[in-house]
Symmetry: C2
């Protein structure tokens, strides 16, 4: 057994978990190491031991998102485009139901001008990856004849990403937003509402 190595990983990971929750509900500028340390039951400096600068923590957070998102995408590359879109919707719903969290790309682009350059670079890459994925769904849906829409797949994917990012934010003022948005996106793609 190696309790030392496990303990290190565990605290490091728990810091990321708490920071993620704070990031998606309050934003990067509106949470402090105090929030994390009091939640974790340790002192402030313990967080600095694992992530010396807040920038380090921010970069680690986005990098973990990128890895997780890549696994999410990889895990369903065999699914039909329509099913992939439904997974996308499910992911969006999950954010909202978890303390009205919003999409990470929404936080990062909204606070973009105040973020350190290292985080801006990670945010750029993350947004690119999310956009590419949305575009691939629109492309595949047109290619296999399951989705029917005007314009290019590039623009349609972008529109879906932008609408869901904005929709998650708007949902905080009105919880009927997300269901209506999902129905409308399906309607624009000529899709039927799927059976459970």
């Amino acid at each position: 057994m190696k309790p030392a190595a496990d303990a290190k990983n565990d605290t490091s990971k728990r810091i990321l978990d708490i920071a993620e929750q704070l990031l998606l509900t309050r934003g990067f500028n509106a949470f402090s190491y105090q929030h994390i340390s009091s939640e974790l039951g340790v002192r402030n400096a313990a967080i600095h031991y694992h992530y010396p600068k807040k920038t380090d923590l921010g970069v680690a957070l986005i990098q973990r998102y990128r890895r997780r998102f890549q696994r999410f995408v990889d895990a369903q590359h065999t699914l039909a485009p329509q099913q992939q879109l439904e997974r996308y919707f499910t992911l969006t719903d999950a954010y909202f139901e978890h303390d009205q969290q919003i999409c990470p790309s929404g936080i990062l682009t909204t606070e973009y001008q105040t973020l350190p350059p290292e985080m801006q670079a990670e945010a750029n890459a993350f947004v690119d990856e999310m956009r590419d994925w949305a575009v691939r769904i629109a492309e595949a849906g047109r290619a296999d004849g399951s989705m029917h829409y005007g314009g290019t797949p590039q623009a349609m994917g972008l529109l879906m990403l932008a609408a869901l990012q904005g929709g998650l934010q708007l949902a905080r003022t009105d919880q009927t937003v997300l269901p209506a948005l999902k129905i409308q996106i399906r309607a624009l793609l000529g899709l039927a509402t799927p059976l459970p």
Copy 2:
């Protein structure tokens, strides 16, 4: 002449102008009275004289947005739906071109959980008004036969609002976002790109 009254109004208004710029580029949590006072060339306490609490300033900012937006909407109630949509696009472009500002509703809903209740209430009302306007455009466009889309006008208006709000944020990482989004929304509504 009434220089006293003008001076009061002028300083008060200039504080709002500077605060607005800071809000739309940095967010409410990421600007301070110091930012405003140094920009304005006065001391910190002078800002507190006009807006005792930061909450007061925030509420005044949103209320001014609401008045301005209402005037914007009223000023074009005689225009055709398609022209109203183009005005909406122009408004969006103007935000982006002004130091990559984003939509006020985007900031307010993203920082929603950290805002004081008075600002949350104003934000709710503001988002409602923006949404209503988008819905009315979609309704009028369907009614006069100029726009053709699936789904309800309520959902279509919501989708346009959400997409433009998210799109303004995403445009910070890639400036080609907004043009593509506008083209796609027109395509989904069966509209031709208007001539200048």
